[in-house]
């Protein structure tokens, strides 16, 4: 029995390329020699590193602690020794290195003690706290820290949606996970439902994954859950959180809002699986399933520890075939080119595609926009992509924002259908990051202004306080002088002082020069002559004066 499917705008149906990798069971990667664990694997603040080179770590030991509210913990994927904490190449569209902990595995894979969480006896919302140390982040691509999503303030969550649509071509990791581990996924979903206080669980799966839908239905029946599995038509991007919400409930997420604001929380099936492992087994997020496909010998889904170099994953999938020209992280619609295959697997990487010119022909050069409107028909967010393109291209950022640039989910439908082959999404990404940077600069300037104004205020206040203090002291001294008149003790002291001054004065007046007592008559005569001259000169001097 399938649930009702509501229509959504836009979308398209690119070649699926799912069969390459979805026939083989998930391959569990053997232990690697070396793991490179980035401290930024999630949305928000990077984790704060807790180890340094030379430390020994155990599997599951926390090596990066969440820094701030929107942040997630990072754990050691295996036991071993920390070789370095340094910037290393990571899977990021910029190709810039980021801070990583490099761990040399000792081969023993000794784990820390893991304690399951007794979630049934926790009130809804209380699970978020112990989960914060588990490092869970959404595995659909946005890598939003899961513990934050499981304790949303504001709107009460009515519906939990489990996203198994996996709409992007080539990617099959969620498909294989649902086929093989449906029970664990649904147990995770039940924990989510309990924690969120939601009433129902809806599972959305595209109709190109019938086995996965069957397995999930079986798991729901076995666990006797209030969950409904709905098969939705295969149409990219049905796996977008807002799109799947509308497909399953008919509710459209308002502009500038997220599903949470309308009482719906969406999680990826792989996140539910990770949550099951974290809560029921006490195991933090140490591994994930990733599709390694494209132009490789044996496309596979591989369950590998986070921090495994991507080059190792490619080797496990049989290695690159001749003619590989690069690798894509994520799907062909939204993914980006990987600069260095030494970069490690992180929580957000759901797919690695080896590209060759036959599978991914080079884009023809972009031609001018003809205003045909194909992009507007394809846009699942009901935007006007050509308007956004003009404004972004002209760097008219305020205008682009006014045309709801931030409702764009960067799905790539518009670029895909553009008959002029304009890389539209590249323009939107450029405009978005410019706006975000400008907003950040504005905020920093506002903070600087406030601090500067406060400093001026403080200096002024200090000056006034000092003046007041000095004035008070001066008036105190004056007062002290006035008080002395009626204070007998002070009067006595003053009398002694005055007497001493008078004595000194008198002594000075009465003193006689001691060198004039024994003068010869000759000397006496000289002195008298000088005195006479002085007497004679002095009236003249006075006159001059």
């Amino acid at each position: 029995m399938n649930g009702k499917v509501y229509p959504i705008p836009g979308g398209l149906h690119p070649a699926e390329h799912k069969a390459e990798s979805n026939a083989r069971t998930i391959l569990v990667a053997p232990l690697a020699e070396r793991y490179i664990v980035p401290l930024r694997q999630h949305l928000g603040q990077a984790a704060r590193v807790l180890v340094q080179a030379g430390d020994t770590v155990l599997k599951g030991q926390i090596i990066g602690t969440p820094d701030g509210h929107i942040s997630a913990a990072v754990h050691a994927p295996t036991s071993g020794r920390v070789l370095a904490v340094e910037p290393r190449p990571v899977a990021h569209p910029s190709g810039l290195p980021d801070l990583c902990v490099v761990i040399e595995a000792d081969g023993a894979d000794t784990a820390v003690e893991m304690h399951p969480i007794d979630w049934r006896n926790l009130a809804p919302g209380e699970l978020a706290k112990p989960l914060a140390a588990m490092g869970l982040a959404g595995q659909g691509g946005a890598v939003f820290p899961s513990h934050v999503k499981l304790a949303p303030g504001g709107t009460a969550i009515e519906t939990l949606i489990l996203n198994g649509a996996e709409c992007e071509p080539w990617i099959t990791c969620d498909d294989r996970l649902m086929r093989e581990r449906a029970t664990a996924i649904m147990q995770g979903a039940e924990i989510m439902r309990h924690t969120l206080g939601a009433k129902r669980i809806l599972v959305g799966i595209e109709d190109n994954k019938p086995q996965a839908a069957e397995a999930m239905r079986g798991a729901c029946a076995q666990l006797k859950l209030a969950a409904r599995v709905t098969v939705v038509p295969t149409r990219y991007p049905s796996g977008g959180a807002k799109q799947l919400t509308q497909l399953l409930t008919g509710l459209e997420t308002p502009s500038g809002k997220i599903s949470t604001d309308i009482g719906i929380q969406v999680f990826n099936v792989a996140t539910a699986y990770a949550l099951y492992r974290a809560v029921e087994l006490g195991e933090p997020m140490l591994s994930r399933v990733v599709s390694v496909t494209g132009h490789v010998a044996e496309p596979h889904n591989i369950e590998a520890r986070l921090g495994t170099p991507i080059v190792d994953l490619i080797r496990l999938a049989g290695g690159d075939l001749a003619g590989v020209t690069g690798h894509i992280i994520g799907g062909p619609m939204m993914g980006f080119d990987l600069d260095d295959t030494a970069a490690p697997l992180v929580k957000s990487v759901n797919c690695v595609i080896a590209r060759n010119p036959a599978l991914f022909p080079r884009h023809p050069p972009a031609m001018p926009c003809t205003r045909c409107g194909q992009c507007a028909l394809a846009c699942p967010a009901s935007l006007q992509p050509f308007e956004l393109y003009w404004h972004a291209k002209a760097k008219n950022l305020d205008k682009a924002r006014a045309y709801k640039l931030f409702d764009c989910i960067e799905c790539g439908c518009c670029s895909h259908v553009c008959p002029s082959h304009i890389p539209l999404v590249d323009y939107y990404r450029f405009a978005k990051s410019e706006i975000v940077a400008a907003d950040r600069a504005k905020q920093a300037a506002e903070g600087a202004r406030q601090r500067h104004e406060f400093q001026l205020l403080r200096q002024e206040r200090e000056k006034q306080e000092k003046a007041a203090r000095l004035g008070k002291k001066a008036s105190e001294r004056l007062e002290a002088g006035a008080v002395a008149a009626d204070d007998p003790e002070a009067a006595r002291k003053k009398a002694i002082l005055d007497a001493a001054i008078a004595r000194a004065k008198q002594a000075k007046e009465t003193v006689q020069a001691k060198n004039t007592e024994t003068l010869t008559p000759e000397q006496q005569r000289q002195i008298d002559a000088i005195e006479a001259r002085r007497q004679a000169a002095s009236p003249a001097t006075e006159h001059e004066a």
Binding site: H92, S94, L96, D98, D426, A448, R449, R451
Partner: protein, 185 residues
């Protein structure tokens, strides 16, 4: 004729009273144009414009006493926005003022003697420390104004350019190669 004069005079009196009342009621305090200009300035408080801080410069500009091209931290974009606001022509930077890449001050921990002179010089309270204790620049709050560099008696402060990291990286403006065959890797 008389009644017309009286009516007109009465209307004039009433309207005059209303205007007088409105003048008092809706009195504009401060200079709104200076506020608007100040909003555009980057608030580094660096003094490179020749004024002691951003607000004095904004007030001078509002009075028409200062040029719009004296704020290097604001960059070309800042000049553009000031020109738009004030309705004047965009002009290049004035002599002796040129924009530099954004940088932050770094205190050498081994040399700092804890004299607090840099703390007093910092216009945005971005340096923490106490007398005879090590001082530290809070990098997120530092505006890169360089006002702390000269007061230091032991020359332990230097400016470091802020490099691009994964955190502050921006998507580039799409460049479409004219000859894709040649530009391809």
């Amino acid at each position: 004729m008389i009644s017309a004069i009286i009516v007109m005079a009465a209307i004039g009196l009433v309207l005059g009273m209303v205007l007088g009342w409105a003048e008092l009621k809706f009195k504009v305090t401060g200079n709104p144009l200076a506020d608007k200009i100040n909003d555009i300035l980057p608030q580094t408080q660096c003094g490179q414009c020749g004024f002691p801080g951003c607000r004095p410069y904004a007030e001078a500009m509002a009075k028409g006493e200062a040029d719009i091209n004296r704020c290097p931290p604001g960059g070309e974009a800042g000049i553009q926005r000031l020109a738009d606001l004030l309705g004047v022509e965009v002009k290049p930077f004035g002599a002796g003022v040129a924009p530099k890449p954004k940088s932050v001050a770094i205190i050498d921990e081994n040399t700092c003697i804890g004299c607090t002179l840099c703390i007093q010089a910092c216009p945005v309270d971005a340096i923490v420390g106490a007398s005879k204790q090590l001082h530290v620049v809070v990098a997120d709050l530092c505006t890169g104004c360089e006002l702390c560099v000269t007061p230091c008696p032991v020359d332990c402060i230097h400016m470091e350019v802020v490099h691009e990291t994964v955190n502050n990286w921006k998507w580039r403006y799409p460049v479409v190669p004219i000859h894709p065959e040649r530009a391809a890797p």
